[in-house]
Every structure is written in structure tokens, then in C-alpha cells.
Assembly symmetry: C2
Homo-oligomer: 340 residues x 2
């Protein structure tokens, strides 16, 4: 990106729903370069400004969490194709802070959802390869905003369910869906209680063939567990809910979509939709402030000092408190010497 | 606390192992008042200084995690009494950021471990009532250091297993123990994968009477699951390990203690103990720096501005990014106007 003219052109492309412009825009917000950052902020502001059709658009943002092996890609492909067949435009984004570690997702995302990726009504964005959490949150949030501005009706935000990524997704989506596989009575499906409490819908996938009875039992177990959770003000009666689906046969997918729409409709009518988005905006504002305050630690001089003091702490020459006091004092002096 | 003389007196009391002095010292580090803070830092520095017997002391710090209902208090009482009977001095601390919400733990801790709390070889500190996470971590860390300085042989650091408290405990302890109840095949015992990976020892409690077969099955399940985890460099062969215990009958408690000692001994001999403590000190140093940078947000003027901008973000008058930029700019100007 070179300047304002390009930003205007890119904004027009995104607002017109052009997928190549959208892909370039997401690459821009994902960039770590300072000049790219300024362009990214200008682009986002432009897309929100009255005038362009992108300003008032609001997609249904669906967060989708599930550990590897539950059939997430197959589910997204089948579910996405069902929506595009119904005339809806679908964007798929991945929030995956561990992708750099687990490897392969950059090449993998598109091939694992082959039919959906060729669908002109769909847009699939592979996980970014960088892995810093604050950065992941910001990039994901801005990518969602770009998809929304590009007129997508549904934005699926996918996470692999490690570390803090669920919390990021929960603060980005309107509806949070947890995908599970039929369990063989083992405790290790990796469902954290906190994720259960975030879930609006629990879908037990692979409810077909020999696994169907196990899927039904797992669904009943989770329906029971959901019944033990406190009813939330943002839910109509009967929600959160556990359902069986099969991404392979397609059974249950339409029902799951109906439930998502029911929930979204109810929340819109009862003010919870607006309240949730307002709360999310507040959350991201405060998070940006925190990240901004901590960003001084990323500067080379600060990092060098942090490493020096850290070594002294590690080998017992300084206490953590004394070293921290010295570090903070040094940062304050640097800050004060800057032109105001 | 009034001045240096009192700090010296308190340090002498703590170093002599006086439990009332220790209780007062912990109250001091838990205080939010600035003058108390200065005294607390002076106290900690004094206890670490060469001269007092407290300087070189190192307790075995055992982290204990378990969701409500697994019988944690009964376990701590039985385990603690076994250790004091063997001539060891035992301190019990709770890390519980949710205690203010769940209530009752301030009165509850002592009554739920009645016999241990009357034991002159034991010291039980109820959870602090404040619930700010950064504060919880610092207070807990300093309370552990005080117990160590007071010559306790074992410090049990207990957590209820919500939110980030396990991470805090893992960064405080030498050995991490996960307490479980016998499971009835349900997935909801609330064991997060991350906690499994932190555990050095998994103890299935209530392995007595009618629950014994279920406890054995649960132990076998977790032993199998632990076998799937990658062997860590800091573990001798056979660890991490799952065992059955009964806090009621006492069965298995001596074996669990033997395992903890084996593990601690092996780590000491192979340098992992020192490396772990060094890594923890480094972690706390960086955490103090982060908390220090974020502490400007706690000032009344900053809070007021944060609330004003936050409201503008919530009702859509400002974007999160623009509001954050304004907030950071304001904080920078205040900082620059301060005398360096």
C-alpha cells in the first residue's frame, strides 16, 4: 500500500463485495509494519463512514469451537454450502494462535474445505501464521469487520480450542457454537467448563452410521449438563441447547441453522444483540488500551533491559520486585524524555 | 505499621517462626495501602537479607488444585496432620480469586480444617477477600515467601480451579497435585487439558467404601491419559502419576507423600528444581512490570476518562481503535508532565 488513493480504492472494492479486495484488506490489517497499520486504520474508518454501503452492514457472526478430530472442516464445508445454496454469502475466518506451532494450516485450510473454497458465494481465510495473542485478537476483530463491510451475511469464526482463543472468539461473535464428537465415555474431550458456559448451541457431530447411538448419548449427557447451568438473560426458553448433526449425511444441519436464527432473532428483538455488541466494543477498547500500554516492552531497548534484569532475577542477584521497580523506573524516564 | 522499627520486629518474629507475626506479615502484604506496600517490600527484603535465619530457607511448595466437591479440605486436613505428626511444619494458603463472589471462605477455611487449624505445627491462612487477579498473584507469591521465611517445611497452595488461578499456582509451586473425585463416566469433572499437563501427581480421592471401584477406574483412566502426554524433561520415569487416596481412611496418603518426595528429590539432583524456581522468578518479574505499566489505569482520573470513552464506544459514537488512541495519548501527556 502506498497512500490514501490506494486505501480509497481498496475500500471501494471491499464495499462492493470483491473477494480479492477483501483478501488484500485482511492482509493489510494482519501486517505488523507501522505504515501498513496507518493504512489499515484509515481503511477501517473509511468503511465505517456514512456514504459507502458498507457502513450499516451487520453479518451474523457465528463462533465455532471444537478440538481437532471433531470434524470441524467437514462441518464448515457442509454447513457453508447449505447456506450459500440458500443464497447467503458466507465468510470463514480462523482464530488460531497455535497455527505457527502446529503448522500446516496455511496450506491446509483451503484444501480441507475444497468445495466451499471454490464457491463464489464463499470466502475462506486461512489462519495467519503469527502467534502473538494480543495481535491475534486485533487481527481477527478487524478481519471480521472487513467481512461484514464486504456484505457477507454470515461470518464463521473458527477456533481450535486452545488457550485463550475461545475467549477471543466469544468476544467477537453473536452466537457461540461448540462442536463435539460422540464420546466413548472418556473425560478427555477437552471441554472446559468455561467453554460450556459460553456455548449457545452444542452440536454433536458424526451422528451417522455406527456412531449414531454414541452421538445420541453424548447429546443427552450435554443436554443434561446444560440444564444444570444457570439460565442466562440473553436466552429464550430452551437455550442453550444440544443437538446431533452429521456433516457427512447433512442430517441436523438445517435444524441447527434454524436454532441459530431463532436465537439471533430473539436476541435482536429483546435488545440483547445490541447490548452484546456494545459490551464487545467496550471490551476491545479496553484491550487496545492495555496492549498499547504494554507495547513499550516490545521496543528493542526495553527488551534488552528486560533481558538483562531478567537474567539477574533468574540467578538470584535481584528479587523480582526490585528488578521490576528498576525496569518501570527506566521506562518512565524514557517516556518523560520524549516530546509531549 | 508505623515505621522501620516495626518492620524489623515483624521480620524477627517471622524468622523465629512465630505464627502470629506471620499472620500479621501476610495481612501487611495483602494490604492495598501505599504506606503498607512500602513496609511490605522492606519486610520481604529484610527476610531475604543474609543474617536472619530466614534467608536461605526453602520449603517444599505443593500446589493443590481440585474443583469443589472432590474433598479438598478433608484431604488437606488428613495430609497436613500426617505431615505434622512426622515432625514437619505445614502452612496452607488459598489462591482463590473468586472467593469474594462465592463468599464464605473467609469464615469457612478455618472451620473446615478444624483439627489442622488447632495444630501448633500448622498454619492456615484463609483466602483474601479481594478478587483482582494481578493482586491475587502478587499477594499469594509474597505469602508463600513469608511462610518459607518462617521456616515451614511444606507450603500447600490450594486453588479451587477457576479461571487463571491454576496458572498462578503452577508458577508458585515446586510440585503440582490435582485432586479428583471418582467419576461416574461423566465428562464434567471440569478437568481442563492444560491442568492435566501441569499436574505432577493426580490423586483420586474418596477411594473407600462403595466408591472404591469407581475411584480405581478413574485412576486407570487418568493413568492412561497421562501416558498419552509427552514425557517432560523435569520428570523421572513413571511420572506424572495417578494414585488413589482416601482422606477419610488415610489410605494412600503416605504413598502420595513418598511420591512427592521422590519427585522433589529427583528434580533437586538433576537441576530442574533450581531451573524451575529461576523460571518462576523471571515470570513474576515480567508480570510485575506488566502490572506496573497497567497500574496507571487504576488512578481515578484515568478511570473516569476510560469510562467516558468506554461509553462513547458502547453507543457507537467512537470506534474502539479511535477511543483507545485518544486514551493512550491522554495517559502519555499526563506521564510526560510528571517530574522525571
Amino acid at each position: 500500500m502506498a497512500g490514501r488513493a490506494d486505501v480509497a480504492e481498496l475500500a471501494a472494492g471491499v464495499a462492493a463485495g470483491d473477494r480479492r479486495a477483501l483478501a488484500r484488506a485482511i492482509t493489510l490489517v494482519e501486517s505488523g509494519r507501522a505504515d501498513h497499520r496507518a493504512d489499515a486504520l484509515a481503511l477501517l474508518a473509511r468503511l465505517r463512514a456514512p456514504g459507502l454501503p458498507s457502513a450499516g452492514r451487520a453479518a451474523l457472526r457465528i463462533g465455532l469451537s471444537g478440538t481437532p478430530g471433531v470434524g470441524k472442516s467437514t462441518f464448515i464445508e457442509a454447513f457453508g454450502l447449505m447456506l450459500t445454496a440458500a443464497g447467503l454469502r458466507v465468510a470463514v475466518l480462523a482464530v488460531d494462535p497455535s497455527s505457527a506451532r502446529s503448522g500446516g494450516s496455511i496450506l491446509g485450510d483451503k484444501t480441507r474445505m475444497e468445495r466451499l473454497s471454490r464457491d463464489p458465494m464463499a470466502f475462506i481465510r486461512p489462519s495467519p501464521s503469527q502467534a502473538q495473542m494480543g495481535g491475534v485478537a486485533r487481527r481477527s476483530r478487524e478481519a471480521v469487520a472487513l467481512c461484514e463491510a464486504a456484505g457477507f451475511d454470515v461470518v464463521l469464526i473458527e477456533t481450535v480450542g486452545v488457550g485463550q482463543s475461545e475467549t477471543v472468539v466469544a468476544e467477537l461473535c453473536d452466537i457461540f457454537v461448540l462442536l463435539l464428537a460422540p464420546a466413548g465415555g472418556d473425560e478427555l474431550q477437552g471441554v472446559k467448563r468455561g467453554i460450556m458456559e459460553m456455548a449457545d448451541l452444542i452440536l454433536v457431530n458424526k451422528a451417522d452410521g455406527a456412531l449414531k447411538p454414541a452421538a445420541m448419548r453424548t447429546m443427552a449427557d450435554y443436554a443434561g449438563a446444560l440444564g444444570l447451568l444457570r439460565r442466562r438473560a440473553q436466552d429464550p426458553a430452551g437455550y442453550p441447547k444440544a443437538l446431533c448433526v452429521s456433516a457427512t449425511t447433512g442430517e441436523g444441519l438445517a435444524g441447527a441453522w434454524t436454532d441459530m436464527q431463532t436465537l439471533a432473532g430473539w436476541r435482536r428483538e429483546n435488545g440483547h444483540w445490541t447490548a452484546r455488541r456494545a459490551g464487545q466494543a467496550r471490551h476491545w477498547f479496553e484491550e487496545e488500551v492495555r496492549q498499547g500500554l504494554l507495547s513499550v516492552l516490545g521496543q528493542a531497548s526495553a527488551r534488552a533491559r528486560l533481558d538483562g534484569l531478567g537474567a539477574a532475577v533468574e540467578d538470584g542477584r535481584m528479587t523480582p520486585e526490585a528488578a521490576a521497580a528498576e525496569m518501570l523506573d527506566a521506562l518512565r524516564r524514557v517516556d518523560a524524555s520524549r516530546p509531549a
